[in-house]
Amino acid sequence: MKELVEYLVKELVDEPDQVRITEVPGEVATTYEVHVAPNDVGKVIGKQGRIANALRTIAKAAAMKNKRKIYLEIIA
């Protein structure tokens, strides 16, 4: 479902070419770093972080299968 998150982020932003998702494996959790253009950060976070939280929920569902904890960070 990483691909699904990537697709959604690209549709949310104005500069889809700037979207890059990198997977950083760690001891206990995998971190997904979502890189977007500086002007697009707000569009991916949303009011009170609602959009970012929804993306996290989707990413978590993806990770459930592999029983891994995940973090999702949005980075300009």
């Binding site: 549709e11 949303g46 993306l55």
Partner: protein
């Protein structure tokens, strides 16, 4: 669909079917002859009308009401966005139309991997897809996603939980705070206990940590 269009149908609850019907008529500002009834839940008066009681729920639809629905064009655009996202997931899942009414298109996710969407991720996906659809493609339409009868079962589970917790609240005389729920789910809890004379409900906290509190009414 405009906001001030007259109501065409309404759902109401009451301790009995009759009470629910009266309330629905009031809400619609209509008389018995002008509506058709759907009994959604016959309700259960429980023991002594208190323990384990569930409210009766009815739906009143004005006779001759035209069921509005999004245009075919809007539906097509909305479904295209949903299916493009699902294709991108690489999973064996796609969306098929189940129904459409008002500004909504109800879609069912089907396929070998559809069950992976049964959970909080269903609302999360629905939320983001609607933002994308409304911002980029069509302002007039909204999608509602479901997997099998996930929504129905989830609502049933929430209703049962609300009644169970309300019972404990009455026994202990102390309020109870539920786990965080989204707006639609919180509404189900409020609705279920609306007619209970011994408890009242309210929400507190900020999304996505907003929780329903079930509180005893002071004697």
């Amino acid at each position: 669909m405009t906001d001030n269009a007259p109501l065409q149908s309404v759902e109401a609850t009451g301790r009995t079917i009759e009470e629910a019907k009266q309330r629905a008529l009031q809400l619609l500002n209509a008389t018995e002859e002008q509506v058709e009834w759907e009994i959604l839940d016959e309700g259960n008066r429980g023991i002594f009308g208190v323990l384990g009681s569930t409210p009766a729920r009815v739906r009143a639809v004005l006779k001759g009401a035209v069921r509005q629905a999004p245009s075919e064009e809007s539906e097509r655009k909305a479904m295209a966005v949903v299916n493009a996202a699902l294709r991108a997931s690489g999973l064996a899942v796609k969306a098929i139309k189940r129904d459409s009414y008002d500004c909504y298109v109800e879609l069912e996710l089907v396929g070998r991997d559809a069950q992976r969407f049964a959970g909080p991720q269903l609302d999360a996906l629905q939320y983001i897809l609607n933002i994308i659809i409304n911002k980029r493609y069509d302002k007039t339409v909204r999608v509602l996603l479901d997997v099998g009868d996930y929504r129905k079962q989830r609502a049933e589970k929430l209703r049962r939980m609300a009644l169970e917790v309300a019972k404990q609240v009455k026994e202990r005389g102390e309020e109870a705070v539920l786990d965080p729920l989204n707006a639609i789910e919180r509404r189900i809890i409020h609705h279920t206990l609306m007619d209970d004379p011994d408890v009242y409900t309210y929400s507190e906290g900020e999304e996505p940590e907003r929780r329903v509190v079930i509180s005893p009414r002071k004697q």
